[in-house]
Amino acid sequence: MKFSYYPGCTLKNKAKDLDEYARKSALALGVELEEIENWQCCGGVFTTAKDEIATKLSSVRALKQAQDKGYDLVTVCSACHNVIKQTNFAMQDEEFASKVNNYNGEVYDGSTKVYHYLELLRDVIGFDKVKEKVVNPLKGKKIAPYYGCLLLRPNGVMKMDDPENPKIMEDFIRAIGADPVYYANRNECCGGYVALEDAEQAKQSSNRVSNNAVNCGAEVIVTACPLCKYNLVKNGSKIPVIYFTELLAEALGVKEN
């Protein structure tokens, strides 16, 4: 199985772990990820304005390249996934697409299929198959899945899971042999980029999440988002925060390869 792969800016720098373990695990699961050539940064957040064209171009170029190669597109970073998926949806509107296509000088219609890595595990490979490949089950480990905002919302576009009662990360945690911890704030915002100019606001939001996970008995928090990880750790999470791909690589026995 081969897919186009969009790593994004942070996975090439501060979140190399997220990328490296995603690639190693994919290989172990028999999936080939071909990086989009000359991809450009998605911009980190989707701009909802109907008259914003330029901010959508980089995502459209990646989507178009995947389409030209005949592959579905895989993302790992929550932010890239959110921006690319929302852009793809916006491109299904003919009037909007015609403006973007005028800029880019090529025709794209929003038809590339976009998978987050978790969806790849669930919908393409299957969590049962992932479970079969686990050589080092993380037995008894109590893991709090942290969805944040970007993976799930807006649900009408993201369509990953039930936005108020998601289970894809819980099912992933079970597939690698560990125990998911349920806690209320798993789909609330960490404070995001406001950390730059209002550290106190980010601290409040982050602590609401990490304290809730700790109080519900978690030993570790997993995330797919570099900014969620940064905010939770920076603001004193009492338990470690790690990328889901690192746990996957560990369970598959390919972490040190």
Binding site: T10, V45, T47, K50, R153, G192, L227, Y230
Partner: protein
């Protein structure tokens, strides 16, 4: 700009429908930035519907919204408050010289771990 024109502009940019609001307050109740906002999501909706827009344009509240879409997904009427907040912010930062963040501000805001994602996101939201 004339208040009615401004209201039309905000509705055009956002594609949202403030007139559908039934004032239940769920958007503000679920907003993670509620405590930091001078005007809360339900007030954005209400004030835009009433053409009372200048106070919003001049409020720091437009930089507190993180577009986490909690208010969008949880609104029982499909009003999409976050898109209205974004439209007000854009009308503000699109004015000449009105960027909320500049490259010169960045060095003093950095630490060793901050991900690139935070910087590009902030620039996309705060700057034109």
């Amino acid at each position: 700009m004339d208040n009615n024109l401004l209201k039309e502009e905000l509705i055009r940019i956002s594609g949202a429908k403030p007139v559908k609001c039934m004032s239940c307050g769920k958007c503000s109740a679920t907003c993670p930035a509620y405590e930091q906002m001078e005007y809360h999501p339900h007030q954005f909706v209400n004030m835009i519907a009433n053409g009372d827009i200048e106070p919003l344009l001049n409020s720091k509240s437009i930089y507190k919204c993180l577009t986490c879409f909690a208010c969008v997904d949880r609104c029982p009427r499909g009003v999409e408050p976050a898109k209205l907040v974004e439209a007000v912010r854009l009308v503000s930062v699109r004015k000449q010289g009105n960027n909320h963040l500049t490259a010169n501000d960045i060095p003093q805001l950095l630490d060793e771990e901050i991900p690139q994602q935070a910087l590009v996101s902030a620039f996309r939201k705060y700057t034109k």
